[in-house]
């Protein structure tokens, strides 16, 4: 899980059975103490592997939306909640966005990649060896190098952590841009995610996505892009297909507070 704090923006991404939405009110309150007022909110997630295990307020997307509606100020009036489907019934993209003003073209876009059914040999690299004599930081650093995660963006500074007995998280920072990877490597419900921010002036984001997917060689990949151009979404598609995956679906929806969200899914050709 990761938290990023910018002067006027907070991004928090958590997995497992965390109760993420409980942070909305406290963050709004803390910001207010600094004379900062919320102007936009975006909540996104894929389809849970174990939805029955999720606690309040995450028992369903409907419950999440109701909770958000009840916990944000009324002036965030440009609101929309939508589930973007795919041809893979277990993969759909859930989006809630709200803002004070309507979205207008931004130079930045967000890419959220979710991967399941990771290659077992590659996933094994995210298990710690018993009594390895390392702490989470040093074991994480070793995983970052052994898996090639450090080569996804060679310009980035990486903060990594290996959990015991398995699992891995890293944040990478490159100027004002972040990227992040989280891994749950257990066989049967293996999962990895990659997220980054790109700008219309960047030419290599699709290449970064390709490198990140290659670290895990997953059976299924979804790529959700928010506020990206059609051309950039097409580049993402081409990048993933170059790894031998086949695009199974391409869906999109418009959000008054976030612009266009495109959701693509891929599976291996095997």
């Amino acid at each position: 899980s990761s938290l990023f704090v910018y002067p006027t923006k907070i991004i928090i991404k958590t997995c497992g059975t965390t109760q993420l939405l409980k942070s909305v009110q406290p963050f709004i309150h803390l910001a207010r103490t600094l004379n900062l007022h919320i102007v936009a909110l975006r909540y996104t997630r894929g389809s849970f592997i174990f939805p029955q295990a999720q606690p309040h307020p995450h028992t369903s997307f409907h419950e999440e939306v109701v909770y958000l509606e009840d916990n944000i100020p009324a002036n965030l009036c440009y609101r929309k909640a939508s589930v973007i489907p795919s041809k893979l019934t277990s993969h759909s993209w859930h989006v809630f966005s709200a803002a004070v003003v309507e979205y207008s073209d931004d130079i930045l876009y967000t890419v959220e990649v979710c991967m399941t059914d990771l290659d077992q040999t590659l996933a094994r690299k995210f298990f710690r060896h018993p009594n390895d004599g390392k702490n989470g930081d040093s074991a994480g650093r070793e995983m970052t190098e052994a898996t090639g995660i450090n080569r996804i963006n060679p310009n980035a500074q990486i903060c990594d952590f290996a959990f015991d007995p398995c699992g891995y998280s890293m944040n990478a920072i490159d100027g004002d841009r972040y990227s992040t990877i989280h891994v749950t490597p257990e066989d049967g419900f293996s999962y990895a995610s990659f997220e980054c921010v790109g700008s219309v002036y960047d030419g290599d984001i699709a290449d970064m996505v390709k490198k990140a997917v290659k670290v895990f060689c997953p059976g299924t990949v979804s790529v959700a892009t928010t506020s990206a151009s059609n051309d950039m979404c097409l580049r993402m598609k081409n990048a993933v297909e170059q790894l031998g995956m086949k695009c199974r679906s391409w869906s999109m929806d418009e959000f008054p507070a976030a612009g266009t969200v495109v959701f693509q899914t891929f599976t291996t050709r095997r």
């Binding site: 899980s1 990761s2 938290l3 704090v5 910018y6 002067p7 006027t8 923006k9 907070i10 991004i11 928090i12 958590t14 997995c15 497992g16 059975t17 109760q19 993420l20 909305v24 406290p26 803390l30 910001a31 600094l34 004379n35 900062l36 919320i38 102007v39 909110l41 975006r42 909540y43 996104t44 997630r45 894929g46 389809s47 849970f48 592997i49 174990f50 295990a53 999720q54 959220e112 979710c114 399941t116 989470g136 994480g140 500074q157 990486i158 903060c159 990594d160 952590f161 959990f163 998280s169 890293m170 944040n171 920072i173 100027g175 004002d176 989280h182 749950t184 419900f189 999962y191 990895a192």
Partner: protein, 63 residues
């Protein structure tokens, strides 16, 4: 079947703020670590590692 703790798919939240004052400075980065920890406690996460630069702060969280 419910196997809690192994859920991979994350929940992601992005909050944007603005200020009437044209000079925001470090803004939210002024929040002290204890305040962030208190919010993370509600979410059921803790900070396990951190890194920052002149633009923003990043924290790797448990879970």
């Amino acid at each position: 079947m419910a196997v809690s703790g192994f859920e991979g798919f994350e929940k992601r939240l992005e909050l944007e703020f603005s200020c009437h004052d044209p000079v925001i400075g470090i803004g939210l980065r002024e929040l002290d670590f204890k305040s962030l920890e208190q919010v993370l406690h509600l979410v059921q996460c803790t900070v396990v590692s951190a890194l920052g630069n002149q633009h923003f702060d990043s924290y790797v969280l448990s879970e």
